[in-house]
Structure formats: C-alpha cells, structure tokens
C-alpha cells in the first residue's frame, strides 16, 4: 500500500515532463524544417486540456484516497546512511494534500479558458502538473531532508510559471522570487544541519525529537538555528523580513498561477515551519525564549504591514498579493503562541485562506481576461458587467474580513482565543488587537471593489458598460471556491475537531 503514495507524485511529474519534452522536440523538428511552431488550433488545445484534466483528476483522487486510507509510509531510497528519502502520511500531510488537490483541480479547470489569452499553454500546463506532483511529495514527506529536497524543487519548478509571459518585468520578478526563496531555503538548511546533530532522528514525530543529552550546552546555537529556519521558511509564507518578493512575483504571473502561488505555495512555507517547530524541535524548546518573542513580533508586524500596503496599493493583483502577506502571517501568529487553540485557528486559517485567496485571484483573472483592467480605479461599474463574478468576489471578501457566518470569522475567533489563552504576556492582548485593526483594513481594501463595482455613481456611465459574458469554465471553479468559503463557515465543526486533534497531538 505504501508504494501507492508514489503514484500521485510521479504521475503528474512524468506527465508534465512529457508535455515539456514533446514540446521541445516538436520545436526542434519544426526548426530543422525551417519553420516556426504554429499556434495550436482549437482541436489541439482541447486535446491538451483533456489530457491535463485527466492526469490532474486521476492523481488528485489517488492522492486523496491514498492519504485518507491509513498511515502509509514508503522509503524511496537512502540518500546517505541514515538519511532516507522517505514518504509518510499523517494528519497534517493528509489535510494539506487534500486542500492542494482540490485547489489544483479547480484552478486547472479555470486555466483551460484563461490561458488562451496568455499563450504557450503546453509549457504552462507542463510546469503546472510538475509542481502539483512536487507539492504532493512535499505534503507526504516523512522527514526533514525529504521535505527540504522537495521544497527546493518546488521553488525551481514553480519559477517558470512566474516568468510565463516573458516580459522583462516578469523575468526580473522570477529572479527575485528565486533568490529570496533560495535565501530562505538556505536559512532553513542551516537549521537542518544543526537539528540533524542534536535530534534523535529527522523523521517527523509529534512533539519533537530533540535530545537534550546530545544538545548539551549548545542551546544558544540551536535557538539561532531555529530562528533562522523560521525566517527562512517564512520567506515562502511572505513573513517580514523576506517578504518583498511576494508582491513582485505573484502579480506578474498569469492569474491562475498567482492564485496557486498565493493560495497554495505560500502555505508550503507554513507547512515547513509546522514540521520544524512541532515535529522536530518541539514547541517546549522555544516556549518562552527570545525566539518565540521574535517570532510573534515579526508575525504581527507582517500582519499589520501587509494590510497597510494592500490598503495603499492601486494595482488589483498586487493588492491581493499584499493581502496574502498579511493573511499568511495570521497563520504564523497563531502558530507562534504555541497553544492548542492558537494552532487550531492557524490550521483553520490555512484552509480558509487557501480557498479565499484563490477565489480572489481568479476574480482578478476574470476581470483581466474579459476587460483587460488591472487597476482598482478602473473597476468602477464592473458589477454591471460581470455580476456573478463580482458576487463570488464579494462572498470571498466577506470571508477574508471575517464577518460571521463566513469561514474567516471562525478561524479568526480561534486565533484570538489562542492568543488570549496562551501565556504570552502582552502579546495576549496586542495580538487580537492587531488582528482586529487588520480586519478593518482588509474591509477597506477589498470592499470598495464591490461597492464601486455595483454602484459606480458618476464615475462610470452605465450605458457604456455592456453586460459581458462570463465563461462557464471560469465561473464554475470560482463559484465552487466562493461557496466553500461561506459554507465552511456555517458548518465548521468537522474541520475544527480535525484541526484540534492535530493541535493537541503536538502540544
């Protein structure tokens, strides 16, 4: 049964590689004949989409079924003596892999329509499939070295999605993404080096594997190392001080890619932090140390700063990217208080934010696809043109702000409760206060699009705003995501108990 874990990893990777290689071979052949590769016609596009969808659905179903059918594990091979490349499913991996699969399929369906106007579809879907396989591997990773390996591969394979349109701006953004991520990964690696020495094993174990005897009086260096890991893996999650790449890189990618970068890949940083802190080091090691204080401070700083920047930003997708910076740090703050309730809130916010942010970016994509408008002040009256899309946007926005009974309210409730109940001094009240301020700012930067969209006032003439068709292929995934953001808030109990179960197993 364990070997089945490898299928949802290798199937998309092999399929994606096949797409890329066959594209390259086709190009070479055409060049030898002295011509250029023609733009694919409608039939060829259909064929490509069917294949991609088939691979996506099959591997997503496999990933979800296999992960929920028991705690399987499999060793791929020994990298070095005592360091296997090892996959194992546990509750947290199960949760992440399910989320990733749902989002990847939905956004995939959306891209079939959207990518028409970006071009180079085969290349895009090649990388899209590969990154999915790598993310599944990341969720299934059973030890820290395996996790690190797939973390690096994820950076490298998702980079081509950022520079997809080939403009100078997007290439520069891709480089920035690459180097910030590498910097972060190396900081994480710094910690792994020391953890390998001071822990019994690098296999993930709830509660940690730190061995005080091996550690001796080297606490100081390990604290530095853990802090480095927090900063480093925090880079992917957009935590200050390595957040600057995110608002540059996410918006220049094609919208579906921005959606998964912000919604899913940013969460890979969160997953890595959870694994290091709760499954290797153990929360008790950093509880009450300067590392915890610094972590809480940085997370709260990022929450506030991200919201402020989003509030001031006029380019719609960039605004959403800043919002990601802020929202993912909600998650990090929930983890940093090191209490079961806080962690429950953090996990819930991972789930909800993933759906919400994907929905928001897909809306931005639909706007661009149909009207080419990218700036917030251009969106006056957009609600007259695309009412259904804007309604989906509105529900997702309300959820992100945290208005009951939407999902965001539930997670923020637990985050605030967690901070208040944990023994973290002034952070107990400062944390919830900042979350509240940030929620206000969130309302301030998200809702104007809805209000101005439906009620443009004298800024736009309703006569000049014809009703535009909203392609089903784009609307349905968006509607599902928007519905999830609301429904999960109304029926949150299974999720709460599942997240609570994970939290209490490690704390």
């Amino acid at each position: 049964m364990g070997a089945l874990l490898l299928l949802p990893v290798f199937l998309p990777v092999v399929a994606g590689t096949y797409l890329l290689v066959s594209l390259a071979v086709e190009k070479q052949k055409r060049k030898a004949e002295g011509g250029e590769l023609p733009e694919p016609d409608e039939e060829a596009r259909k064929k490509l989409h069917t294949r991609v969808l088939a691979v996506l659905v099959v591997s997503a179903v496999l990933a979800v079924v296999v992960s929920w059918s028991g705690d399987h594990s499999v060793t791929l091979f020994e990298l070095m003596k005592g360091i296997p490349v090892y996959f194992r499913v546990d509750d947290i991996g199960r949760l992440f892999v399910t989320l990733v699969s749902i989002v990847w399929v939905l956004v995939g369906v959306y891209s079939f329509v959207y990518m028409e106007h970006e071009g180079k579809e085969q290349r895009f879907f090649g990388f899209y499939l590969i990154v999915y396989g790598v993310l599944v591997a990341l969720c299934f990773s059973g030890n820290l070295v395996t996790l690190y390996m797939f973390y690096e591969i994820m950076t490298l394979t998702s980079m081509p999605m950022v520079l997809h349109n080939g403009s100078h701006e997007s290439i520069m953004a891709a480089l920035k993404y690459l180097f910030y991520s590498m910097c972060g990964a190396y900081l994480g690696l710094f910690a792994i080096f020391f953890l390998y020495r001071y822990c019994d094993t690098l296999t993930f174990t709830a509660g940690g594997t730190l061995n005080p005897e091996l550690l001796g009086n080297n606490t100081w260096i390990l604290l530095i190392a853990v802090f480095a890991a927090l900063i480093g893996f925090g880079a992917k999650a957009g935590m200050f001080p390595l957040h600057a790449w995110l608002p540059t890189a996410h918006p220049v990618a094609p919208s579906p890619a921005s959606a998964v970068l912000s919604g899913v890949i940013a969460k890979a940083g969160v997953l890595a932090i959870i694994r290091v802190v709760f499954y290797i080091v153990g929360a008790d090691f950093i509880r009450g140390t300067w590392v915890q204080t610094a972590w809480m401070t940085l997370a709260l700083l990022t929450v506030f700063m991200g919201s402020m920047m989003a509030f001031r930003e006029k380019i719609f997708k960039k605004r959403l990217a800043y919002s990601t910076v802020s929202q993912v740090s909600y998650v990090l703050f929930g983890l940093s208080v090191l209490s079961p309730v806080g962690m429950t809130g953090a996990l819930l916010h991972v789930i909800f934010h993933m759906f919400i942010k994907c929905a928001l970016f897909l809306t931005a994509g639909t706007f661009i696809f149909r009207t080419g408008k990218t700036r917030v002040e251009e969106l006056y009256g957009i609600g007259k043109q695309m009412p259904l899309t804007v309604w989906c946007y509105t529900f997702a926005s309300l959820a992100l702000i945290g208005i009951p009974p939407t999902s965001g309210f539930v997670s923020k409730w637990y985050l605030a409760q967690g901070a208040l109940s944990a023994n973290v001094g002034a952070f107990g009240w400062a944390g919830p206060a900042i979350l509240l301020v940030s929620a206000l700012l969130t309302a301030g930067y998200l809702l104007p699009v809805t209000t101005n969209g439906f009620f443009p006032g004298n800024k736009a003439n309703p006569e000049e705003l014809p009703r535009l068709s909203e392609p089903k292929g784009m609307l349905i995934p968006l509607a599902i995501l928007a519905a999830l953001t609301v429904l999960l808030g109304i029926f949150p109990n299974p999720l709460i108990s599942f997240a609570g179960q994970i939290a209490s197993s490690v704390l």
Partner: protein, 491 residues
C-alpha cells in the same frame, strides 16, 4: 600486481608526451589517436592499479641514504589518482575539437600529457620530499600551457602564476625541512610523524611553521590573499582552465595541504591551537570572497574561475576542521567539485569555440540554440548550489556535519559562510541559465542564428559529467563509505 606499476603510470605519459613533437604522425588524425591512446592506456592502467591496491613502495631515486623519491599507494592517493585518471581521457577527447581553433597543437599536447604523469606523481608520492618535487614540476610544466596563446595578456598571466607558485613553494619548502628535522620519518603516516620529544618547548615555532607551510601550499588552491593568479590564468585554452585550473593543479594544492595536515604534522598536534584558527579564518573568508567576486565578474570563464576559488576553500575548510569527518567532507567535495566544475567549464568552452562569445551578457537566448550544452550547464549550476539530489548537496552536508560536530564557534561561522556562498552561487549561476533560456519577449533569434550545439566529442564528456552528478547525488554511499575508511585510519 606489484609496486612496479607505480613508476609506469607516472612515467608513461611523461615519456609519451615528450615524444609527441618528434614522432612523424603524418596527419592530425594519427596524432589524435596516439594521444588519446596513450592517455586512455595510462588511465586504464591507473584504474587497474587502484582496484588492485598493490602494497609496498617503489624507490625511483635516492638523493642520500634517507632522502628518496619513492612512490606508493594509500587511501587518499587513491582518491586523487581516481579523479584525474577518470577525467583526463574525457578532457583530452574534448580538447581535440577545442584545439582546432588554436595554434601550436603539438606543443600544447606535449605539456598537457606530461602534466598527467606529474599529477599522478603527486597522488602517489610516498613522502613529503617526493611530493614537493612533483609539486614544483607541476608548476613548471603547466606554465607553457597558460601562455599558450602568446598574447601579452597570456604572458603576463603566466608570469603572475609563476611568481605566486614559486613563492608559495618556498614557504612550503620551509615546512618540508622542519618535517624532516622534527619528524620520525619523512613518509606520510596517518596521524602525523612529529616527534614530540624532539620538539620539546618549541611547539609554537612548529605551529608557526605549519601556518607558513599551509599558506605556501594553498597558493595553488588560490586561497585569499593568493587568489589573483587563478582568474588571470583563464586566458589559457579552455581544456587547460577546465582540467588544470578546476581539477588537477588546484586540487593538487588542496591534496598537499591535506597531506601535510593529516599525515605529517598530524591533527592531534594542531587541533584546537591558534594555528588552526589562523588558517581557518582566511579559508572561511575565501569561501565568501570567491563567490562575491564571481558575482561581480561578467566574463564567463573568469566567473567560473572565481567560483573555483570559493569551492576550493570548501575543501580546505573540511581539511582545517582537522577531524576524520572533516576529511571525508573535504575529499567528497574534491571529487564532486571536480565533476561539477569541469562540466561548467566545458560548457563555457563549447560556447567559446562555437561562437566566440566570452561575456555573459552576450549569451541571451543561447539556451534555445545550444540546448544540450546549456542543459548540462544548468545541471552543474544546480549541483554547485547544492540542490538535494545532486552531488553538491552531499559534500556540503558532510562538510557541515563535520563543522557542527567540532563544536567550534568559528566552524559555525564557517557553516554560515557555506550557506551565504550557496546563495551567491545560485545568483551567479542561475542568472546565466535564465538569460540563456528566457531572453525575454521580442528577443530576435536571428542575431544568434550562427549558434548551435557542438559535435559529439564535446557533448559526450558533458553527458558523462551530468549523469555522474545525478548518480553521485542520489547514491553517494559507495564513495562515502570508502572515504569513511580512509578517515577511520586516522583515528
């Protein structure tokens, strides 16, 4: 197999190389067959020797009763000999296509082949005097290779190389003399040969001598502050820069440093002293310094040369940790860096021979035109960065584990330096890859319509190296366990 094989693998390439200018080949093809034949034969003999591991020594020559030139084979020598005998035939194959656009081929191949024998001599040297003699000879025979093009720039570069190397050798010689005086024997013995009774209260003097000797030998590894010669020497033809300045010559420097540290002075004598600190600081500095210079450099080969400067200091870092684990890290990086760097240099060489472009900003869009070369280049770049799954990660892991185990705060700083250097490596290698594969919207490919992949003679070595990087990266255990045995003999 007896010890008589030792002089054969050293002398065969030397004699055969000297014969190249006088033999009547008739045409170029015959000469190519002769050279590749000799190099291949010698490599096969060497590999056979490494497999059989013959015992005993072979005395080439006696200066006096106890000063001899003698050869034998041990674990560390095996590693170095294995690297050069695997790489030399591949590099020779590559040079045939490369040298078509240079002149004076016979002179070039004479010295190129002789160098093979001399480097073998360093690997097989049984004692410090023999090693020193071959080390000096190495300087002299590689000098004409650097000034091969006879341009003013080349002559100046070779002069710099000569001054640096001879100066270094002079310091190294002081060390050799002291080993002879204060050691129980001049041979290499795991754990060192110093006679503590003879030293008495002159410990500090000997530590000073060690530091001088270390700096002397590490001139060849281009450690700061003696690194200027290596990037300058990049004017040499690419096979020379690739094989000699990324592998044979510079690693001979690292090899000699390890020999005197672990086999002459001995780590027990050195570890924890001020001498260890004194050599570790410049090593750590060079790791970062080399990378930052590489980042600044816009000339492709010089950028790679600065990267070599940094990577050789990785090896030295492992060596100056002065623990068995450090030696494993150093030796593994010696093997893996050889593969990675020769591969990236060969890619640079392929670009130069096929297109004449030498600067990085001229490489826009090349990835589409030379896909095979730039694929290999990307793999080598990723490996140098230390992406897990490729060989660079394995050696870095071992180096760092040794540093963490040592418990020395300075070594922790070394770990940080390694990671900073990895980040800089990512920047200076991947910018080239991205430029080559993604030149940006509206790039006019007709400006580089003359660019294409080279012939199989150049591609075959690239393929071999790329595969090797993956295989070593995924399954390093056979190599690591062998290095572990060498290190275990030091305990």
């Amino acid at each position: 197999m007896s010890s008589a094989i030792f002089p054969i693998v050293v002398l065969l390439p030397i004699v055969a190389g000297v014969l190249i200018p006088v033999l009547p080949f008739g045409n170029r093809k015959n000469m190519m067959i002769y050279i590749e034949g000799v190099v291949l034969l010698n490599a096969v003999l060497a590999v056979a020797m490494l497999v059989c591991q013959p015992e005993g020594e072979f005395v080439l020559f006696r200066f006096t009763h106890d000063l001899t030139l003698s050869l034998h084979l041990d674990g560390m020598g095996t590693v170095f000999a294995a690297i050069i005998s695997v790489l030399w035939p591949l590099a020779t194959l590559y040079s045939f296509e490369y040298m078509t656009h240079e002149r004076h081929e016979k002179v070039f191949f004479t010295f190129y082949t002789v160098t093979f024998g001399i480097t073998m001599g360093i690997a097989l040297a049984e004692d410090v005097v023999t090693m020193y003699c071959f080390y000096e000879m190495l300087t002299l025979v590689t000098l004409p290779l650097i000034m091969h093009t006879l341009t003013r720039e080349a002559i100046l570069a070779s002069r710099t190389y000569l001054y640096y190397s001879l100066g270094g050798a002079a310091f190294a010689f002081i060390g050799v003399v002291f080993i002879l005086i204060y050691g129980t024997t001049s041979n290499f013995v795991p754990g060192g040969v110093l006679d503590l009774a003879k030293i008495g209260d002159r410990t500090n003097l000997l530590l000073l001598i060690y530091v001088l000797c270390f700096f002397g030998f590490s001139v060849k590894t281009a450690m700061w502050p003696f690194s200027a010669w290596l990037p300058k020497a990049g004017v040499a033809p690419t096979p020379v820069t690739a094989l000699l300045h990324a592998v044979a010559v510079v690693k001979a420097g690292a090899f000699t440093v390890m020999r005197v540290t672990y086999y002459s002075f001995g780590t027990e004598f050195l570890k924890g002293t001020w001498a260890q600190t004194a050599v570790m600081i410049p090593v750590i500095f060079t790791i970062v310094y080399g990378c930052s210079r590489a980042l600044k450099e816009t000339h492709l080969k010089r950028r790679l040369a600065w990267s070599t400067v940094s990577n050789l200091s990785y090896i030295l870092f492992g060596a100056v940790l002065m623990s068995p684990l450090g030696l494993v890290g150093a030796l593994s990086h010696m093997i893996f860096h050889a593969t990675m760097k020769i591969c990236s240099f060969f890619c640079a060489g392929a670009v130069i021979t096929k297109t004449g472009r030498e600067y990085i900003h001229q490489l826009d869009g090349f990835g589409r035109k030379m896909p095979k070369v730039f694929a290999a280049f990307t793999v080598s770049g990723l490996a140098l960065m230390g992406v897990p799954g490729l060989c660079g990660f394995i050696s870095k892991w071992n180096l760092v584990q040794a540093a963490v185990e040592s418990g020395n705060p300075l070594a922790y700083a070394g770990v940080a330096a390694l990671l900073i250097s990895a980040l800089l490596t990512a920047i200076y290698m991947l910018t080239i890859t991205i430029r080559a594969f993604f030149p940006g919207k509206g790039f006019d490919y007709s400006t580089i319509s003359d660019v294409e992949d080279p012939s199989w003679m150049m591609l075959l070595p690239l393929l071999v190296f790329a595969v090797a990087m993956v295989v070593f990266g995924l399954h390093p255990e056979p190599i690591l366990s062998r290095l572990g045995l060498i290190a275990a003999s030091l305990r």
